[in-house]
Amino acid sequence: MAQGATVVTTPGLTSFLKSLKTTPADPSVDYLIALLKRRQIRSSRPCAIATTALLLRVVGEFKGRDAAKLVQRIRDVGRLLVAAQPREVVVGNIVRRVLGLVREVVDENMDSDTNVTNETEAGSQPEASSPRRPVLSSSISTFSPLHYAVAEPMHSSFQSEATFDSADLSRRPPLTASHTTSLGHSLFGLFSHPETPSASNTPTGQQSPTGKGLTTLNLERLADFNKSNVNVDLKAEVQDGIKELQDELEQSDELIAANALEHIHANEIILTHTASTSVQKFLLAAARKRKFTVVHAETHPLDHTATYGMALTGKKREHTPSDEEETWKPLIAAGIEVYVIPDSHVFAIMSRVNKVILATHTVLANGGLVAASGAAMIAKAAKEHQTPVVVVSGVYKLSPVYPFDIADLIEYGDAGSVVPYDDGDFVDKVDVEAPLFDYVPADLVDLYITNLGGHAPSFLYRIVADHYRTEDITL
C-alpha cells in the first residue's frame, strides 16, 4: 500500500515506514513531523498510513498500564503532528480514532466490571439502557452534532469491514453490536434529536470550556479504570485496534468499489477529475460488468501529470515499481472510453454528463468537502445542470472538524506551476496564485460513498459521531 515516494532515496512514506521498524518512537515522531512539514508525505492516504504506523509504534513503546497516561501520550504526539501540517486533516482524524480506541477499551472493561454480561456484548448493551445517558449529554449540551457520541456511545467500527458483505454496507455496523441493536440505537437517537439544536446548522465553538471540563472528567474515568482493572492488557488491545484501523485503510478502496454497480448504469457518461485511486478503483469495478464513458478533467496545473498517468497506465506517476504488488489496469484497458478534457470544458460538457464522481481530500462533518482545486466549479456546474454529484471517500477522510473558516483549510501551492518562474518579467509584476484545494459546500453534493456504503451529506454528522469521541474533538 506504500505510495508517495518516487525513489527509495528520497524521504517519503516508504522511507518513513522502513525507518519506523528500527527507530524508536520519539525520533520517529520528529521524522514524521519533518516529512509533513516538508510536504514529503502529502495527500490523505499516505498521511493516514504514516500516522497509524507511528501511533502503533508509540503505543507499543508505551510503558505502564495507566490509560490516562496513554491517552495523554497519544494526544501529545497527535498535537505535534497536527501542528506540523494542520491542513492534512486526516492526521488528526487518525489520532482521534486511536484515542477513541483507548477509551473504548476502557469503557468495555469498566462495563464488564459492573455488568455480568459476557464481554462481547458488554460494549453496547449496558449503554443502550438509559441510566447513564442523560447525565452525560447534559454535560456537553453546547456542542450539538457530536454529543451523540456521548448520548449514545456507540463504538467505532474499527474492525475489519471485510467481514461484512456488501448488503450490510449500507448500514454502519458498530463494533460488536448486533445489527438490530444498532438500528435501535439510531432510532433512539432520532427521537432524542428534537431536544437539541439541529446538528447541521449549529457549528458552535468546539473549544468551549465544556469540552475541556469533559476532558478532565473523562481522564478521571480513565484513572478509575486504572485502579479497577488489573487484568486487562490495555496496550495489546489498543494495538489490535490500530491494526484493524490499518486494515480499514487498506481495504477502504475495495469496499467503496463494491458499491460501484449500484451507481453506474450502462452507457453512462461520467465526469471525474484529478487522479484518485479510490475513483479509479470504483470505476474499474463497474467496468467489469458495464460499458460506460468517462470524461476526465485533467486538473491543470497541479494534477494533470498524474491524471494523464492514471489514464494511460492506471497509476499515478509517483508509483515506484516496488509498489506493484497490487497492479491494476487503466480504465482504457478495461474497454472504457476515456476522454481527457481541459478543465475549462466542464460547463460545456456538463449538459451531457449523467453523473459526476469526485475524489476528495477531506470530508467535513457538515457534509462539505475539501478536494483538489477545480472540484468546486465542477460541483457547481453539475448543480446548475441537475447532474448528480457523487463523492467517493474512505471513512478515514471524514473529519469531525467544522469549516468555521474555509480559507483555513485551503493550502496554496507552487505558483511556478501556473506561470514558470523563468518568465521573470511576468512573475515580478503579476500576482500568481495556485490554490491546491477547493471547498465544496454540502448542498452541491448529492451522495457520499464511503467504505460503509452510501450516505446523504446531511447524514455525515452521524457517521462522525460513530467514529469519534466528543472528548477527542479538541486534541
Binding site: 497506465t313 481541459p342 503579476v430 500568481v432 495556485a434 477547493d438
Partner: protein, 496 residues
C-alpha cells in the same frame, strides 16, 4: 438611458470620421503587428507571381463561365438567389418580420474529408469532426491571393486570434484582393467578384480555421455591398469605392465602436473594485486601461486556461500599464470569483437568444459569479451579434486539434510514464524490440495517447453562457440586457 446612449453611438462615428484613417490601429493585441504586414507584403512582394496567378485565374474563370453558362445565368436572375458557396446572407429586402429570424443553415464543408485514420468517435462531438484544420498552404486553390494565404496560416496557428482581430485582418486582406482584382471581359464586377474571386479566398480561410461569427457577418455585408454596385460604374471606381467601404466598416463597427464601449464600460468600474475577466479580450483590455487612465483605483484578476493562455498576454499588458493584476487558472476560478466584485467578459458572439458564445470557460466564470450575485458585464461590438441561437455548447462549436492540449513541458513531465505503459501499446508502436537505454522524446507522448485504444483528448474552443448569468451587455449602441440582443441585431443589420 439606453436611448440616449445609442443616439450618441450613432452620431459619434460621423464625428470621429476624420482621425480614423487606416483601419483600426489595434484591432486586437495579437494582430496589430501582423495584419498590416500580411496585407502589405502580399501585393508588393509577390506581385509577379501574383499577376501570373491572376491571369491563370481569369483564364480558368472564363473557361468555367463558358462551361457553366446556364447555371451561372440562372444564379444571377434575382437578388434573392444565394450564391453557390452556401454562405447565407441577410435577406436584402425585409419581407416579414418572422422571416428575418429564420435560423441560418449551418455552414457545411463541401468536400467530405476522409475520416481521419485515427479514432473517429469523439464523444458527442462527432458532428464537428469534419471541420478541417489546415496548417499549410499545400493544396490551396491557385486563385487564393497571397495575402489571404498568409492570413490563413496565421489563423490556424492562432497568431491572429480573437473574433474581432480575425475579422479585421480578413477585411484588410480582402482589400488587397479587391485592389488586385480585374473583372474578366464580359462580366460585371458586381456579379463576378463575389462568386468567382472572393469565394475561393473564403473557402481557403475556412479550411484553415472555421469562420468566426464576425467574419461571417462581415462577409455577408461585403457581398451585399458588392452586389449593390451599379454595373455601370467603371471598374476602378467600383474598386475604390469598395476599399473605402471596407475602411468605413472597420472604422464604424470596430474602431469607433470599441472606443464607445470602452467609454461606457469604464464608468461601470468604481473605486476599489476588483474586476475579474476571463482569457483575453481586446475590448476588455481597452476598457480596463481606460479606467486606469481615468485614475480609478481598482485591481484586476485575470482567470486563464489551457491551452492558449490568452489571459497571460492580457495580464502582461495590463501590468505593463501599471495596473495591479492577479493571475489564476480556471481550476481556481471559485477562489478568484470570491475575491472579485465585478466580472467583465469579452465575447466571440452574442446569440439571438441572449446567450454568450465565447472562449470555453467563460460559462464557468459567469456561473460562479452569478452564484455570488456579482454583476456580469459583457463588452461586445454589435458586429458580433448573430441571428443564430444556441442552447448548449455542443451543437455548434469549434473542435480544435487535441494535441494542442499538451504543451511541450507537460509532455516532458509525462515521459517517466514510459516504464509503466502496457506492453501491448509499446508493441503496437513498434518500440518493444528497439528497446534500449535511449532517452524517450517528448513527441512520443502524443503517440502513446493516440496509440492507446479508448483514450482520447478533446478540445473545443467555445462555450455558451446562459443568458441568466449575464446582467448587462455593453455595445456601441448602449447598455442592454441580453434579451435585447436580437433587437439591436435587427437594428444594426438594417442599417447596412
Amino acid at each position: 438611458m439606453s436611448d440616449a446612449q445609442s443616439a450618441g453611438a450613432v452620431q459619434s462615428p460621423a464625428a470621429a470620421t476624420a482621425p480614423v484613417a487606416e483601419a483600426p490601429a489595434q484591432p486586437s493585441g495579437e494582430s496589430e503587428n501582423v495584419t498590416p504586414a500580411a496585407a502589405d507584403s502580399g501585393p508588393k512582394k509577390m506581385s509577379a507571381a501574383e499577376l501570373k496567378k491572376q491571369k491563370q485565374a481569369e483564364k480558368q474563370a472564363r473557361r468555367a463561365q463558358t462551361k457553366a453558362a446556364v447555371p451561372a445565368q440562372s444564379q444571377q436572375n434575382g437578388p434573392k438567389s444565394q450564391p453557390k458557396d452556401n454562405i447565407p446572407r441577410p435577406m436584402p429586402i425585409r419581407t416579414r418580420p418572422s422571416q428575418t429570424n429564420e435560423p441560418m443553415p449551418k455552414e457545411v464543408k463541401r468536400e467530405p474529408k476522409k475520416p481521419s485514420p485515427k479514432k473517429t468517435q469523439s464523444l458527442f462531438f462527432g458532428h464537428l469532426i469534419n471541420q478541417p484544420r489546415q496548417h499549410s498552404m499545400v493544396g490551396a486553390s491557385k486563385d487564393v491571393h497571397p495575402a489571404v494565404l498568409a492570413l490563413g496560416l496565421q489563423y490556424s496557428s492562432y497568431t491572429i486570434c480573437g473574433s474581432t482581430a480575425r475579422m479585421v485582418a480578413m477585411l484588410i486582406a480582402f482589400k488587397a484582393v479587391i485592389e488586385s482584382y480585374q473583372t474578366p471581359p464580359g462580366n460585371s464586377l458586381a456579379r463576378h467578384l463575389t462568386s468567382h474571386h472572393l469565394s475561393p479566398q473564403i473557402d481557403y480561410l475556412r479550411s484553415c480555421r472555421p469562420l468566426s461569427i464576425t467574419m461571417g457577418n462581415a462577409i455577408r455585408w461585403l457581398k451585399d455591398v458588392i452586389i449593390k454596385i451599379d454595373p455601370s460604374t467603371p471598374e476602378a471606381d467600383a474598386k475604390r469605392d469598395l476599399v473605402t467601404e471596407i475602411d468605413d466598416f472597420i472604422r464604424d463597427r470596430v474602431t469607433v465602436a470599441d472606443k464607445l464601449i470602452a467609454e461606457n464600460g469604464f464608468k461601470k468600474i468604481e473605486k476599489g473594485d476588483v474586476v475579474l475577466t476571463y482569457a483575453s479580450s481586446s475590448i476588455v483590455e481597452k476598457t480596463l486601461v481606460r479606467a486606469h487612465k481615468e485614475g480609478i483605483p481598482f485591481t484586476v484578476i485575470v482567470v486563464d486556461s489551457k491551452p492558449l493562455f490568452e489571459g497571460k498576454q492580457l495580464a502582461r499588458k495590463l501590468s505593463d500599464q501599471g495596473l495591479s493584476v492577479k493571475y489564476l487558472l480556471i481550476t481556481s476560478a471559485s477562489h478568484a470569483v470570491k475575491q472579485a466584485t465585478k466580472v467583465l467578459l469579452g465575447a466571440h458572439a452574442m446569440m439571438s437568444n441572449g446567450r454568450l458564445y465565447s472562449r470555453v470557460g467563460t460559462a464557468i466564470v459567469s456561473m460562479l459569479a452569478h452564484a455570488q450575485t456579482l454583476p456580469v458585464i459583457v463588452l461586445c461590438e454589435s458586429v458580433k451579434f448573430t441571428e443564430r441561437v444556441a442552447l448548449d455548447s455542443i451543437v455548434g462549436n469549434e473542435l480544435a486539434p487535441a494535441d494542442e492540449i499538451l504543451s511541450e513541458s507537460e509532455r516532458k513531465a509525462l515521459l517517466p510514464l514510459k516504464d509503466h505503459l502496457p506492453d501491448s501499446l509499446l508493441r503496437k508502436l513498434g518500440e518493444k524490440e528497439a528497446e534500449g537505454p535511449r532517452k524517450p522524446k517528448t513527441g512520443e507522448v502524443m503517440k502513446w495517447i493516440e496509440g492507446s485504444d479508448n483514450l482520447q483528448m478533446l478540445q473545443i474552443l467555445y462555450d455558451v453562457t446562459p443568458a441568466e448569468y449575464i446582467n448587462l451587455v455593453i455595445t456601441e449602441y448602449g447598455s442592454l440586457p441580453p434579451s435585447s440582443v436580437p433587437v439591436v441585431h435587427r437594428l444594426s443589420t438594417d442599417k447596412w
